[in-house]
């Protein structure tokens, strides 16, 4: 099934992300584009509400905000990005082996219809921050990614066509429903 999801690089997909954080009363919503540039290079470009680009290449993250000098840090210090890279690149390149290497995988649903992959990072350090990832998809398309952080915070990304459907005031339930819906 994973092999069927594969696409040639570079692959771009729109995303809209809602972060449910304990320090905030309401979720934080950003949107932009995720790009797999081939190999281990991934770009997360945020267009709304603020321009910001994070590029992962060769184990290093470069973060660039409009009007500020770029900020570099090691990928190891940003476990969310590590997980994003491992899962996203593996899915886009259709590389089941790689996915297997980074995560324990649980699969449910139907490869031709709605399916769900649950990924638990194998790396003991990463799992201290990111508890699990759940990806909802339909047939050959990934539609949603839930990143459950170990401290209870949750990020839900709507991918591709679904990104446009991000509500102004999202709730966990509403997004869950969107992810489960049939395209």
């Amino acid at each position: 099934m994973i092999a069927a999801l594969g696409q040639p690089a570079p692959a771009h997909t729109a995303f809209a992300e809602a972060r449910f954080l304990q320090v905030l009363e309401r979720p934080l919503v950003v949107s932009g584009e995720l790009s797999w540039l081939g190999g281990d290079q991934l770009q997360r470009r945020v267009d709304h509400p603020q321009q910001e680009t994070a590029t992962i290449a060769h184990g290093e993250v470069t973060q660039q905000r409009a009007g500020k000098s770029p900020h570099h840090f090691s990928l190891r210090r940003a476990p969310q990005l590590q997980v994003l890279l491992d899962s996203f690149v593996a899915l886009l390149s259709g590389d089941a082996g790689r996915l297997q290497q980074a995560f324990q995988i649980r699969q449910s649903g139907d490869a031709a219809g709605a399916w769900t992959l649950t990924l638990v990072p194998r790396d003991a350090k990463v799992v201290e921050t990111v508890a699990s990832i759940t990806i909802d998809g339909y047939a050959r398309e990934s539609r949603c990614m839930h990143m459950q952080e170990a401290d209870g915070d949750l990020a839900i990304d709507l991918l591709g066509a679904l990104a446009a459907k991000m509500p102004a005031q999202p709730t966990r339930e509403a997004l869950q429903a969107l992810c489960q819906s049939t395209p």
């Binding site: 992300e17 972060r19 954080l21 304990q22 320090v23 905030l24 009363e25 309401r26 979720p27 934080l28 950003v30 997360r44 945020v46 603020q50 910001e52 994070a54 993250v61 973060q63 905000r65 900020h71 840090f73 090691s74 190891r76 210090r77 940003a78 476990p79 969310q80 990005l81 994003l84 921050t129 952080e149 401290d151 915070d153």
Partner: protein, 782 residues
């Protein structure tokens, strides 16, 4: 003397030596601190140098790298970055618990390491409040930025800090306290471009105390090898302390194997010359007595004996080895040894007295190490001389072969006697000396102590590479700030900071770290405290700033609490600061001396020395750039001046002694002229060969001069007895050959200190021998 009496004397002598050896081993305390062998510093810079050399932060710093073992430097083989980082963390954790190290840094800034009680101090230490009050606009802007941070991938780095520190003062301080040019962080620790984890360790022990540094280095290596996974990784060290250990070990190693070879040669030579085992063993007794008595005298007169005193002392004691040789060579077949010595004694006594007087001059130099050297050598020479005169002859075998009967010796004597001895030889040699000295390349003196114990090139390159990667401070320059109080130094430092920032921006220097960077003045801390709003105002301001932002309203209670606490804190003083993790860093930068305080700014990567020196202009001497290299060189110059003065006095005393002993100016000339000319000839030849003259060359010249004095004294003696003349030649040849053997071997050493001594003494012995013969009065003349 009868057989029984001889045995009793021998046993008594050996017992006395044993007893002396035991006492010495109980009392002797050897110091390795280089500073006790230096003259008392006279200028403030020299005094600061002496302190810095031993205890300065730069000299106590060890630079460490943990890399992949040899052969696995290719990426992907050997330990991963992650494993190296784990080793780095493990090593720092182990060293932090060890009292031998005052600091162990690897780049990880652990907020957990900060005492929670100190956290509110961030508002007094961070410069934010100097320009920016905690008003609504500022807070609103900061909170908006934190919101942006939360949506970025780096959010998890921040989430824990947010409630307590929404303006991120802690990170600002961490950034401020990180060395300006810090290495790349990987896995949370410093890494070099060559993929090694980097660490900085500061020892409690002084940098130039090789003994203590050895222990500190052993401790690091043990801690490293105890870490799991250290087998595949390689720990490398660098820094002044490590170098002093390496150089000490190398010098000892080379001196040891050269010493072993030349001892074997020396024994073989004496066996060949005298064909008697018992004579050989017995003639070692005066030298052994001399060494032990010399050390015993030192332990009585001084609380600690310097290692260099002993090394130089044993070298200078080489003169004493001639006394028994003279006795052995001058024995006649039918004569009792006691009688032989009696005939020889006046001359021997003159030689001993002259050497003692020359060494006495060292005592007048006022340098502690040289005083010790004088006590050691004078006591040693007297003991060697008198035991050769009054004890040794009673023990020597009765029947010996008279060396005067050897056929080769008779031929040699004839050859020597036939040598032409034109009167213009001294003039020719003197002219040659003047010409050579004039033509020699400059500089004349070697003032750089380090040049004598140079480090292997690969060690220096490794050090330069690590220093560059770590942005570790230069050991050469220090910016010195002076004020009556600690607070005054900090105030001066604060005033200087903008000027320093300009210099860094202009690339005159890569970094200059001032004490106020770690601790602002009490005045400035109070000013910042004044800027902190009271709890009610801050609560109101925060509520307004939070308008329209999604933060939970009660989220920032820890922030409000910290600001409230910060308003009531007593300002941090250096004393209180000493309890913090950075306390050691500041303590090394603030030192008290002579009723005032000094701040020491560490400098890295100097590109424009003049611009740095300009910082001191118009400061009335309260700010100055200290060049430790220049200060150490001026110290060496002072030191040499004292030795030269002492030598001048010794020379005058020597002329008087010899003239008095021989009771003839003309005879004194025959002894002193060849010795003086030979000494200057060595100097001239070494200078022409491009050798710069150091303290070690001077000490070696003095030793060679002492030996040359013997040759000249004995050659000058005219007994009218051809057999006695032959014996004199025999004794001198044995002495010259043994000195050439011992010091000629040293001349092949690769370590310049050993080579300097070896080459100078060998050349000296050769020149003294030749000139003594060529300038001795003809047997037929008188």
């Amino acid at each position: 003397m009868r057989r029984g009496a001889r045995a009793t004397l021998l046993i008594a002598w050996l017992l006395a030596l044993g007893g002396l050896g035991w006492t010495v081993s109980q009392r002797l305390k050897i110091s390795t601190d280089l500073r006790s062998f230096m003259p008392a510093p006279t200028t403030p810079d020299q005094r600061l140098l002496m302190e810095q050399v031993g205890e300065g932060p730069g000299s106590r710093l060890l630079l460490l790298s943990i890399g992949r073992g040899t052969g696995s430097s290719v990426a992907g083989v050997g330990p991963s970055d992650e494993q190296l980082a784990a080793l780095s963390q493990g090593l720092v954790a182990a060293l932090k618990k060890d009292p031998r190290y005052s600091q162990a840094l690897n780049g990880s800034f652990d907020l957990g390491a900060l005492d929670a009680g100190l956290l509110p101090y961030r508002y007094l230490l961070s410069p934010t409040l100097d320009t920016q009050p905690l008003d609504e606009a500022y807070l609103a802007d900061q909170l908006q930025q934190r919101l942006d941070d939360l949506s970025s991938p780096a959010a998890s780095l921040l989430k824990g800090l947010l409630p307590r520190d929404p303006t991120l003062e802690m990170l600002k301080l961490a950034e401020l306290w990180t060395p300006a040019k810090s290495p790349e962080l990987r896995e949370g620790v410093w890494f070099s471009p060559q993929n090694e984890a980097l660490l900085l360790v500061q020892t409690v022990a002084a940098g130039f105390d090789p003994g203590a540094q050895q222990q500190a280095i052993d401790g690091i290596q043990r801690a490293f090898h105890a870490l799991p996974g250290s087998a595949g990784a390689k720990l490398e060290l660098s820094g002044p302390g490590y170098f002093s250990v390496v150089v000490g070990a190398q010098t000892r190693h080379q001196a040891d194997w050269i010493g072993r070879i030349s001892t074997v040669g020396f024994v073989a030579l004496l066996l060949l010359a005298y064909r008697s085992f018992s004579s050989l063993l017995l003639s070692a007794l005066p030298i052994a007595s001399a060494a032990l008595a010399g050390i015993a005298a030192l332990t009585v007169a001084f609380s600690e004996v310097h290692g260099i005193t002993l090394a130089f002392g044993f070298t200078l004691l080489g003169v004493a080895q001639e006394y028994p040789i003279r006795v052995l060579s001058h024995r006649r077949a039918d004569e009792d040894a006691v009688q032989s010595v009696r005939a020889l004694w006046p001359l021997l006594l003159t030689a001993i007295a002259s050497a003692c007087i020359a060494y006495l001059a060292f005592y007048a130099s006022g340098v502690n190490g040289l005083k010790q050297l004088a006590v050691f050598t004078i006591v040693g020479l007297l003991v060697a001389g008198f035991s050769t005169r009054y004890l040794l002859p009673h023990l020597l075998p009765r029947r010996v072969r008279d060396v005067a009967d050897m056929r080769w010796l008779a031929k040699a004597r004839v050859f020597v006697d036939r040598l032409p001895r034109p009167r213009w030889i001294p003039l020719l040699v003197a002219a040659a000396i003047v010409l050579m000295l004039a033509a020699a390349p400059r500089p004349f003196w070697q003032n750089n102590l380090a040049a004598l114990t140079p480090l292997p090139q690969d060690l220096l390159q490794h050090d330069a590479r690590l220093r560059e990667a770590l942005g570790a401070p230069d050991v050469r320059y220090l910016l010195v700030l002076q004020a009556p109080t600690e607070e005054g130094v900090l105030a001066l430092s604060e005033k200087l900071q903008p000027l320093v920032d300009t210099l860094v921006a202009k690339h005159a220097v890569d970094a200059l770290e001032l004490p106020s960077r770690y601790l602002p003045t009490v005045a400035r801390q109070r000013a910042r405290q004044q800027q902190l709003p009271d709890p009610a105002t801050l609560q109101k301001t925060l509520n307004e700033a939070l308008q329209g932002l999604p933060f939970r309203p009660d989220l920032f209670q820890p922030f409000l609490d910290d600001v409230r606490a910060a308003r009531a804190l007593p300002p941090l003083t250096p004393e209180r600061y000493a309890q913090t993790p950075l306390g050691q860093r500041l303590a090394a930068m603030l030192v008290q001396r002579d009723g005032h305080w000094l701040g020491l700014g560490t400098v890295s990567g100097v590109h424009d020395v003049a611009a740095l020196q300009a910082l001191g202009e118009h400061s009335n001497g309260t700010v100055r750039l200290l060049d430790l290299k220049a200060a150490s060189e001026s110290l060496v110059v002072d030191y040499r001046t004292r030795i030269l003065q002492a030598l001048l006095i010794a020379a005058v005393l020597l002329v008087l002694t010899i003239t008095f002993a021989l009771r003839s100016l003309r005879r004194a000339w025959h002894v002193l002229a060849p010795m003086t000319l030979a000494t200057f000839l060595v100097l001239a030849v070494e200078r022409v060969a491009g050798v710069e003259i150091s303290l070690f060359h001077l000490v070696a010249l003095i030793l060679a001069g002492g030996l040359g004095l013997h040759y000249a004294l004995f050659f000058e003696r005219d007994t009218g007895d051809p057999a006695e003349q032959r014996r004199t030649l025999h004794a001198t040849i044995v002495c010259v050959l043994s000195a050439l053997l011992v010091f000629g071997m040293l001349a092949w050493a690769t370590i310049p200190v050993l080579r300097a001594i070896g080459l100078t003494v060998s050349l000296g012995v050769a020149f003294h021998f030749c000139l003594s013969i060529l300038m001795a009065p003809h047997a037929s003349e008188d």
